[in-house]
């Protein structure tokens, strides 16, 4: 990547924050998560089962009578 090209961070609004990678993510508890993907989707709603990586848990869930 050329030094003139800035990293792009996309705030989607209704979903994760997209960060051009690879990135290291330092968490408050001292753990460090490495993502090698070209773009990483960072969870900002805290609902992801794979936090800090988005797993689409932010999506609307429709209520039904049947429970799984």
């Amino acid at each position: 990547m050329s030094p003139e090209r800035a990293q792009r961070v996309v705030v989607t609004g209704d979903g994760p924050v997209l960060v051009e990678g690879p990135v290291e993510i330092d968490l408050p508890d001292g753990t460090r998560v490495l993502s090698q993907r070209p773009v990483t989707a960072l969870c900002v709603c805290r609902r992801s089962a794979r936090y800090p990586i988005c797993d689409t848990s932010h999506r609307t869930r429709k209520k039904t009578e049947e429970s799984s």
Binding site: V10, R37, R50, R61, T64
Partner: protein, 337 residues
Amino acid sequence: MTTTAPAPVRRARPALPRARGPLSAAVLDLLRGGAAPAVGATGADPFGEDLQLALYVCYELHYRGFAGVDDELEWSPELLAFRRSLESVFLAALRGAVPGGDDVAAEIASLVTEVPGERGVSHHLRRRGEPWQFREYIALRSAYHLKEADPQAWVIPRLDGHAKAALVSVEHDEYGAGRGELMHARLFGDMMLELGLSDEYGAYLDASPAQVLAEVNFMSLAGLHRSLRGALVGQFAVVELTSSPGSARLVAAAQRLGLGPATVGFYAEHVEADAVHEQVVRHGIIAPLVAEDPAMAADVVFGMQAATLLDDRLGEHVMAAWGEGRSALVRELPPAP
């Protein structure tokens, strides 16, 4: 983990499948050097075994071809004319079976809404699927996953600007971001080997029911026709928008069944990768495509609805077969080694 570079393997091209009726018999005959088909597709069941296999075989000439079949037959006028008649029947049936419209945002909203307690193959596998059912599911999915991202690659030269750049970024990820051993088709093959299945391209063609063939045929149809580029984008969106939650259920299923790292890894990769792809497809591909040419909206909606219909048909077929304790494949798999 220690890995060594794999030795290059010379793979045989897939064998021609067995005919399932007059249309597929006519195509196979032509590929073996016979005369132009004397039968017509008019009146054939558009979603039936015979028409779907005939179409699938026609399209395979654009991908990997078949053992003993002349590569030049890809552009045989007789074969293309016959394929055209098959496509017309299939496309007309799809257009007649979906509601249509041009509200892309509403289609996306329905695709990304998770309904708790929803029925479906991945829900079943997560809750109480049996090992033989998991293996069958993988064999069923192999028709697409062993050529994962290939049908969508046809659309690249038909797009421009932001939509093109964004679609290529997703395709790049599907193709392992430059690493052959990480191509999703390869990761799928590794899972097949781990489950005691063959990872050879086309190995389960004879075992694949019409519902599987129809799903892949729709991708090839929309990929190969520039006039259907919007539909291809809609189809691609369905895969990328619905994959993450389904993949998470399959991770849970694989863990519950005690399956190996390649199996868990394939679906875990798709949970994270497709969470990114969803955003890129919505904001990077569809939004600029429709902004530049609003007439694309109806085509995108058609592609989404048709892909959803075909996915639902496959799901219903699989759940109906398993519900009766039978195989969802045309031919049952040999038992796991």
